[in-house]
Each structure stands twice: as structure tokens, then as C-alpha cells.
Amino acid sequence: MVDISRRAVVGLLGLGVAGTAISWPRLTGRDIPGRGDDALTVALFGTQQDAAARQALVEGFQKKHPDVAVRIVAIQGQDWSEYFAKILTMIAAGSPPDVVTVATEGTQLFASRLAHPIDEYVQRDADEMQEYFDDVHPALIESFMYKGSLFQLPDNFNAANVFYNTTALERSGFERPADDWSLEDFFSVARGMKSGADGRFLPYFWNNRLWGGVVPWLYVNKTSFLTEEKASGGDWFWNRFYPSEAPRGGGYLWERADALNDRAVESFEVLQQMVSEGIAANPAQGGGNELVALFSSGQVGMTPAGGFWVKGLHDAGVANDDYDVTFFPRMAGQRHQFGAGGYAIMQTSERKDEAWEWLKYCVSMEGMAIAHPQPDSSLPRRSLNTKLYGAGTGPAHWQVFYDTLDKFPDTGPMPAPPQQAAVESALIKNVVGAITNGPGGVRRGLENMQRDLELALKGR
């Protein structure tokens, strides 16, 4: 072994200590831009590019509030559950953001544990807020109420509508479906599309997930896999801001599993029939990216999607007249599902007043227009939605996006209780089994789903 003197060892130690001291900001993460700054921290679900795209929004906000520094933190994840989990780890690590973007999937989780109700702020700035509420459908606001309190202001939403390939429809000899088309009409169109296409074509493609999966087929049949109830309270809001509307209550409650009701069984049997007939895909788990590629290449006839798809299809080079959008077909009813997104203020935030100003700015005409320069989502403000989709990018019947709320006023958010992640897992886990084991397998699959949902809702 090389003989190293004591002096050399001490020297090495000294070098080590000096190196550690020099790299201390890196080791502790203090050199990360913005960390430790006195700024309003806004966490959003997306990439660094998404964060950069919000810079115009930050600049617009700072023109009104030059004394408030804003730091956008982008959090990437495969789905909303992963995003929420990362927010929770930020809280555990002692660096919670002040404001977070939350979609319907996490609204009740955040409302029940992490978010600060905005009731006082809304009432304090009622005159200012009235202009926003006048422009927004109440169903969207109701979806952000929890047990009588309001937690978010919607700044985007997407209802599950049916996007269809116009060439495939024309090839099948059908006209554009009527707004109130029936399930039988849907089957006729799908069968027509299939008979006129080659083997790699599927009339109806869908993914196994909460948004746009099996839920639309439950909702149009006036049912769900959870019992839907309304919480009491909320009059303070409805009476003040929507005086001409019947009060809608204090928000949705989904506390009991209901996967075995007759209508749920019927909806699953419909899907089972579609899959066994070969007019619908056996759904794989996944997001929309795969779907955009399949749809844009003409391999898919119809699929559930929302306004967010317009930009995706445009980017993929799909011409406006290559596709169109319509409502989901009618079964017992024609209720649709939607998901909305907005910002929530964290309970732990020490900048709640500033956070409220951020929320207000993001739903203002100016803020919402800056945040959504292209048709990447339906906008809760009617006026802006019309401006966005009426500008020439998108399907001919883009009015369907907002009409879903206006024409079917019972349209509501997808079921997402505070235990949403466990509930979603229980749903997704049992869908494929319920629809692929023949007509007799539907009830067996739903029995398993009922058991798993009861476990999920019971909590731990």
C-alpha cells in the first residue's frame, strides 16, 4: 500500500471540507433558480415548457401586482394521481406551494385536506366576481364546491363528447347524427362504418380510464358506479351569484358504491356487446396521445374527447373538415360527464391574499385569454370559448362543447370523491374483466368492482 503521511491525510480532509463548503448551495438545492425567494409559488401539472408558456400570464399578473413575485413550478406525472402525490411529497418536505392547479380528479381530495376555502374572498370581492360568474355555467362552479364551500374557480373544462371521422361517416352512408341520437343509432353508425372499412379500422375506440372511459355510458343511462348525492349548504353562493337559478346545493358527494344497479349493468352490457361485435376496442389503459395518432390516421371512426383535442388534431395536421363533434347518444337520458380545472389555495400558504389575486387574475378575461391562446381546452367563460373555437381552428360543430352544459343541464363532473385514486383504481381494474368475459361476465365483473369500491370508499 502507498504510504501516505499524516499531513497528506489532513490535507485530503481539508480539501474534502473545502469542496463540500464550495458545493453547499448545490448539495442543498439552494442554487435552484427561485428557491428560497420570497415569491408566490404556483404548482402546475405539466412540463418545464408548460411552465415557460405561463410566463406571459405571470407578466400580465405582475403588471397589476408589481409587488408580488410569482414562481411557477412544473410538476410532471403520468396522471393526476401522480401529480397530487408529488404535491404531497412537497408538503412532507416542508416546501408546499401556495397555489396548485387541481382538476376534478383531485378537487375533493384537496378540499377535504389541503385547500383553503375561498368563500370569504368571493364574498369580499363579490361585485368584481359577478362579471365572471355571469359568463360561466353554474354546473362548472358547482363541481368545485365541497360541503357548502367553494374551493376553486374553473379556468378550463372538457366535456366528453363524441369526435367522429367525417370520411368514415360518409363512407357508411350516414348523415351527421342528430343531437338526440339514440343508442340504436350509434350502433347503426358504428356497424355501417365497420362494414365499409378495412380490417385495421375500428368504429369506436376508447381507453380504460375515469375521463371518457365507461363513465359517459353510465351518465347517458342516468346512472353511475357510485351513488351521487348533493351536500347541504351553498345557498350563500347561489343566492348571491346565480339568483335566477335554483340553488344547486353544496357540491357533490360520492360516498357509496353502486356498481350493481340495473342501469349500470345495462351500460356495461352495451359496451360488452360493442366489444364482442368488434365495433369497439377492448380498452387498453392509457392516455390520449395514442388516440390522436390513431384518429388522425383514419383508423378510428369515433372516440370520446373534448375541446382539448382540437389543438392536438390541428398539430397532427388534421384538417377541420376531416372530423366533427357531436353529443353522446341518448340512453335513459343524455347527461354528459365533464372534468374541470382551476387553481386552489393551499391551507399552509402564508400568502393567501396574494394567492387569491392570482386566482382572480387567471379567471379574468385577460388572464384566461393569455393562458389559452389556442384551442387546447374548453373555456368556462362562454364569451371566450366562442372567441377561441369560432376563430377557424376546430370542427364545424364546435358549439357542442359549451352546448353540452346548456342543453343538458344535469351534465356533471366525473365521480371523484376524496378517495378518488383508490376509486379510480377499483374502476379501471374491473372494467376489462366485466366486458370481455361474455354477457354472463358483466355481473361477475361488477360484483368484483362493487367489492373493490366499497373497500376504497371505506378508506383505511
Binding site: D3, E82, A92, A284, L294, A421, V432, G433, L455, R460
Partner: protein, 311 residues
């Protein structure tokens, strides 16, 4: 005689140990080992201890932990998903490890057989290559390939008249795909271990066996296999430990489905902790899985006394 030497030897070594000449290398060794030891303590040992402690608490990150004794373990035993996930994991390990070792050994023997050096290098590289790919990326691509409606695999099968197979939507199909993807991606390391083991066998042994009339098959069973048995032990221990922790492939390919058909123990740990915020329950599953790994490894080492030949 023995008395003298036994009393003198320690005294002599003590005096040497106290000398500066011996202390310095020890100090230096400690110094160089310190970062690793500290790293292991902070990032491996401490989390293990923490998760064992956490297994006795109810904790959702947001509220304070609450001591619940063995409640988390009791919930484990009564949760059908946890039971199924452990059975799936054990079933997966049993098949994956056998297939992985067999494929790796077969290919290692083939690559070590007579062939030009450049070809050998080519095979070594290409067979090892899948290991350096990200499991998530590979699984994502495989999910496209095995898609029932639009996947390339069903397309090719269609050319020879085979109807579309629900690779990821039927229990058997999903298990086969997960197994295939996992083995393809992981046999490379085992393959390299076997190449090293086979290369270390002296040629003279085979020459002597040939002179005694042993054929290639006999040489394999009676020479190659016994002489690489230590390598086989290491390879199987590592393969089993890795396979018991399978997560990426079934998570990306099937999310555990259809139903619970491909749900594994580590997936349930992840889902419990990060989707259901049940960190106590997740830790309890982790503890049970760790004990299972330790038990299996101990059994392997016990059995190795009978089957491993150290020359």
C-alpha cells in the same frame, strides 16, 4: 511450544497494530470508505429502519402519524388484492427466473462456442443491450407492439391466419407479455455472468474429458454445469431478488390488469403509498416483501451447500 507461540503472537501483532505504520493505512481506508458508508447509512439503512417503524403507524403525510400496532399487517392479511399480488409475484419469479437463467446460459454457451471474435463481440453487445434501456420506455413501446387492435404483433400473426390475440386484455396474454418483456430486458446481466463463469473453466479440463471420451453433452452436464455452479448461485440469487421487485414492466404495460392478473407486490406498495396515501400499509407490505426476499435468499444459500461445487 504452542504455549509460547500463542502468547507471543498476539503481543507481537498488538505492538505492530499500535505502530503508526499500520494506523495510517487504516485511517486512510476509513477515510475512503466513509462516503460510501455514510451514503449507505443515510440512503439505505435509515430508510429501511424508517419503513419498519412506519409499518406500525397510520400515516398519510398530511396528518401526524398514529401508532396502530399490528393493524397494518392485519389489514394486509385480509386484503385480497395484497394476497393476489404476492401470489402473482411468486408465480412470476418462479417462471421468470427459470426462463432467464435458461436463456442466458444457452446463449452464453453459444457465444462462447467456436466463432470469430468479432461475431462474439457483436453478440455480447447486442444481447446485453436491452439491459441499458429504460424499463419504462421499453414497456411503452411493447404496449404499442402488443396492442390488440393496432399492434404489430397481431398484424404479423394475422398474415398467417391467426386471429387477434388480446395480449394485454386477457390474464394469460398479459402475463406472457410481462414475462417476455422482463426476461428480454434482464437476461443480459445473467448472460455476462455466465460468459465469465464459462471462460474461467480451464481448457485442460475439457481436453482431459475429451481424451476420456466425454461427448459435448456429457461435458456440459458433468463439467460445465458443476464448474459454473458458483456463478449459477450468484446469478440465481440476483435474478430472484430482482424479479421479486418487478414493477416497471407490469405498471406501464397493464397497470396490474386485467383485474389483478399482473399486479405485483411492489405495485401494491406504490399504489398504497402514493395513490392511496396509506404509507403505513405500504411499509407493512414492504417489510413482508423484504422478509420474503431474505427467506428465499437464505434457503438458496442453504441449498447451495449441496449443489454448488467450488472446485
Amino acid at each position: 511450544m504452542s504455549t509460547t507461540s500463542s502468547t507471543q503472537a498476539p503481543a507481537a501483532s498488538d505492538s505492530v497494530a499500535r505502530s503508526g505504520a499500520t494506523r495510517r493505512p487504516r485511517l486512510l481506508i476509513s477515510l475512503f470508505l466513509a462516503p460510501t458508508v455514510i451514503g449507505l447509512a443515510l440512503f439505505s439503512f435509515l430508510p429501511i429502519v424508517a419503513s419498519v417503524v412506519l409499518a406500525f403507524f397510520r400515516w398519510d403525510i398530511i396528518t401526524s402519524p398514529e401508532f396502530v400496532g399490528l393493524d397494518n399487517f392485519a389489514r394486509l392479511a385480509s386484503n385480497p388484492t395484497v394476497r393476489v399480488s404476492f401470489l402473482n409475484t411468486i408465480g412470476f419469479v418462479a417462471t421468470a427466473v427459470v426462463v432467464q437463467l435458461a436463456v442466458a446460459l444457452l446463449l452464453a454457451i453459444l457465444v462462447q462456442s467456436k466463432m470469430p471474435n468479432w461475431l462474439r463481440t457483436f453478440f455480447r453487445s447486442t444481447l446485453f443491450f436491452p439491459l441499458i434501456l429504460s424499463a419504462a420506455s421499453v414497456s411503452l413501446i411493447m404496449a404499442y407492439l402488443f396492442n390488440q387492435e393496432f399492434g404489430l404483433v397481431n398484424e404479423v400473426l394475422g398474415w398467417i391466419g391467426i386471429a387477434k390475440v388480446g395480449w394485454l386484455t386477457t390474464g394469460f396474454g398479459a402475463k406472457v407479455v410481462v414475462l417476455l418483456v422482463y426476461v428480454w430486458q434482464n437476461f443480459g446481466f445473467t448472460f455476462l455472468l455466465f460468459i465469465g463463469g464459462i471462460a474461467a473453466i480451464p481448457k485442460e479440463v475439457y481436453e482431459a474429458a475429451s481424451i476420456d471420451g466425454a461427448t459435448g453433452w456429457k461435458q456440459f452436464w458433468q463439467l460445465t454445469l458443476p464448474l459454473i455452479s458458483p456463478t449459477m448461485l450468484v446469478a440465481s440469487v440476483m435474478a430472484i431478488i430482482n424479479a421479486l421487485q418487478i414493477f416497471d414492466q407490469p405498471w406501464v404495460l397493464t397497470r396490474g390488469g386485467p383485474g389483478d392478473e399482473t399486479r405485483t407486490a411492489v405495485m401494491v406498495i406504490y399504489e398504497s403509498a402514493f395513490r392511496q396515501l396509506d404509507f403505513g400499509g405500504a411499509s407493512a407490505i414492504g417489510v413482508v416483501l423484504t422478509l420474503l426476499i431474505m427467506l428465499v435468499t437464505a434457503i438458496q444459500f442453504q441449498l447451495s451447500k449441496r449443489f454448488v461445487f467450488y472446485g
